[in-house]
Every structure is written in structure tokens, then in C-alpha cells.
């Protein structure tokens, strides 16, 4: 596993789950440190599994702190760039369900092959294919709005 190849991918994966840059950075780095501690011959999709679990733990932490406090910013609230396209993309991604957003990031941003996404999400190839198409249609609809 080469960190150069995966750092940005895991960062984006975490960012679109937790919606906060600093938190995403911390979770990314924790992911790699955990991966290092594990038996290092495990395949790269294990990185995503670690990242996903860390993000879930983070969600749980926030919920126990306060239900009213929205400490996790929505995905379209964390952007500093004023570029219109970036905001529009973020907004559109934010409108998707979390599962669909995850699939979009894995497939279209991180360019992961379908076989890998099946391993990461636990979906069958057919189910994945169907979910991806639906998610894509929705995202395109939001982007064109």
C-alpha cells in the first residue's frame, strides 16, 4: 500500500462523511496509523473499512455529546472556496443520502473499480450497479438544478 496513492482518497471519503476539513484530516491520519498497526499485507480496501468505522465512531461521539448541537457541519457548509462550481457540486452531493454519497465518492472521485467498491460496501455487483445508476441520476438532477 502506497500512502501517496491513497491519502487523498481516504481524505475525501472521510470529508464527505463528516463534512469538516480538520476532522477529516485527523480521521485520515488515524486511518493510516491504524492500518500500519494491523498486519500490513491486508488489501487496500481495508483502509476504507477502517476509515468508515472511524467516521461512524465520530458520529456516535457527536450524538452522545448533544443531540441539538450540530457540531458536524453539513457537507455544503465546510467549503472555503468561493468558486461557484465547487459549491454547486458540494450542495448537490449534500442532497444525496449518505450511502449514495459514499458510492459517488468511491466511484467517480476516487475512481475505485466496481469489484473494490463491492468489497468496501458489502453490496453485490448487481445491487451496486443499480444503486450507482440511481445515485448518479439523482446527482445529475441536483447538479442541473
Amino acid at each position: 500500500m502506497e500512502i501517496e496513492e491513497y491519502y487523498d482518497k481516504i481524505y475525501r471519503y472521510c470529508y464527505y462523511k463528516v463534512g469538516n476539513k480538520t476532522l477529516a484530516e485527523d480521521l485520515t491520519q488515524e486511518t493510516f496509523l491504524k492500518y500500519l498497526k494491523s498486519i500490513c499485507t491486508r488489501p487496500e480496501h481495508y483502509l476504507y473499512t477502517i476509515a468508515r468505522n472511524l467516521c461512524i465512531d465520530e458520529y456516535r461521539k457527536v450524538k452522545t455529546v448533544s443531540l441539538e448541537e450540530e457540531t458536524v457541519e453539513p457537507a455544503d457548509g465546510g467549503f472555503e472556496q468561493s468558486v461557484v462550481d465547487r459549491e454547486a457540486v458540494a450542495k448537490a452531493l449534500g442532497k444525496l443520502s449518505e450511502e449514495d454519497r459514499e458510492l459517488m465518492i468511491l466511484r467517480f472521485v476516487n475512481d475505485e473499480p466496481l469489484s473494490e467498491i463491492c468489497k468496501i460496501t458489502g453490496l453485490s455487483r448487481f445491487a451496486l450497479y443499480r444503486r450507482l445508476n440511481n445515485a448518479k441520476s439523482e446527482l445529475v438532477k441536483y447538479l442541473e438544478e
Binding site: 502506497e2 501517496e4 496513492e5
Partner: protein, 229 residues
């Protein structure tokens, strides 16, 4: 993280290019100011391990500057450098990624990142021989930071850059200086006065002044010119 030089001297026949220079560089940006012929390039080549001093010692933490371990943590941009004429910008960087030990997939990811950092995404697949002077310099800077160096030695890195490119470069150096030892040389004061944490001024192979320059100390340019009177 400390790059130390102790009484470094480099002599060629009757000329002493660097004369008993001692310095200690830590994390942050150090600007090396001096006119052409002051000995900046010779000093930087010795600090990069390319040139053996006539006398004196150099070390980085507990590494020899001639070792592979040091080369793994070093980034260097010479004052003049060339390129194989058949290379595109991307091929040039991929070649150096390979020489710096990155495998193909990592090299691809790293190159994409570097082109974004130096603002050459559009020109990445064009031949370097068609690049402007500023573009060539930016590719050179990208090459120097491929391996995320702990020690970054840049010899006149702003030569050929237009004002917008200089600003971008200063921002990049400011970022890099947070976690690395950066030494950059120039004879243009404005290039480093706001970005350098420390300054070293050289004249005739020796250090004539070194320290931290504050705005309250007045015009750095005037002070620098005074050294040459």
C-alpha cells in the same frame, strides 16, 4: 531537524569560494542573500552533498550529506538545470519520481498533486522545450519537492518567474517552511524579506551578517546594500 556546517571552506587553486563558514539551520525558511560570486551556490552545493569541502564538516542530524539517507530527505533546485528534450512536463516529473524511489501509482498521484501546486496542470503534457522560462522554473521547483523533503535547498528559485508566479512561490515556501528546513538563495531582497524567518548575508565567501530581520529594523534593502560598500 538540524543542518549543521562547521568551518566550511572550498578552495579552487588560488580562489577561496567559501571561507570558513559555520551555520546551523533548523525548521523554517532561511534566506541566503548575496551578490553573484559571493559563494552562495558553492555553499549550497556543499550542503546538498554534491561538492566536497576542502575542509570543514557538514551533517544533517546524524547523517552524512553524502549518504543515500540524506538524499532521501533532500530536495534541491540548482540555479541552472536542464531536461531531456523529448520529455513532457509529466514525463520529466515521473522520471524523477522513479529516481526518488516512488512506484508508478504513487508517482502518478504525486505528479498530479505537484502540477496542481505549481499551477501547471494545463501544460503537464506539453514538451518542456516549449515551456516559458517561468514554467520551466516551476517544473524545477516541483521536482525538488517530489519526495516531501525535510531539507529543501533552492538556488535562485525565483529567477524567471513573473510577479504573479513569485507571489505563488512565496506562499508555497511559507507552507513548506512550517515543517522543513528551507534554504533559499537570491540576490533580490523582496523575494525573501517577508517569507524568511532568518537571513544570512554572504560576501566574498564569508558570512557578513546573519540573524532575524524585523520591520522595525528599517529597510532590509538598504542594510543589504550597505554590506557591499
Amino acid at each position: 531537524m538540524e543542518l549543521k556546517a562547521d568551518r566550511l571552506t572550498k578552495q579552487y587553486d588560488n580562489k577561496i569560494a567559501v571561507d570558513r563558514i559555520s551555520l546551523s539551520l533548523e525548521k523554517g525558511v532561511t534566506g541566503l542573500l548575496g551578490a553573484n560570486g559571493a559563494g552562495k551556490t558553492t555553499l549550497m552545493r556543499m550542503l546538498s552533498g554534491l561538492l566536497t569541502p576542502t575542509s570543514g564538516e557538514i551533517s544533517y542530524d546524524d547523517m552524512s550529506v553524502k549518504s543515500e539517507d540524506y538524499r532521501n530527505v533532500l530536495g534541491y533546485l540548482p540555479q541552472d538545470f536542464g531536461y531531456y528534450p523529448e520529455f513532457t512536463g509529466r514525463e520529466f516529473l515521473m522520471y524523477f519520481c522513479a529516481l526518488k524511489g516512488l512506484d508508478k501509482k504513487s508517482a502518478k498521484a504525486r505528479c498530479a498533486e505537484l502540477f496542481e501546486i505549481v499551477g501547471l496542470e494545463e501544460a503537464a503534457d506539453k514538451k518542456i522545450r516549449k515551456y516559458s522560462g517561468g514554467m520551466k522554473q516551476r517544473v524545477g521547483i516541483a521536482q525538488a519537492i517530489i519526495n516531501r523533503p525535510e531539507v529543501l535547498i533552492l538556488d535562485e528559485p525565483t529567477a524567471g518567474l513573473d510577479p504573479k508566479e513569485r507571489v505563488r512561490f512565496r506562499d508555497l515556501i511559507g507552507e513548506l517552511g512550517k515543517e522543513s528546513v528551507v534554504l533559499l538563495s537570491t540576490h533580490i531582497v523582496s523575494d525573501i524579506e517577508h517569507v524568511a524567518d532568518r537571513l544570512i548575508m554572504m560576501k566574498d565567501g564569508q558570512i557578513c551578517w546573519q540573524g532575524v530581520w524585523k520591520e522595525s529594523d528599517g529597510s532590509l534593502e538598504e542594510f543589504y546594500l550597505k554590506q557591499y560598500e
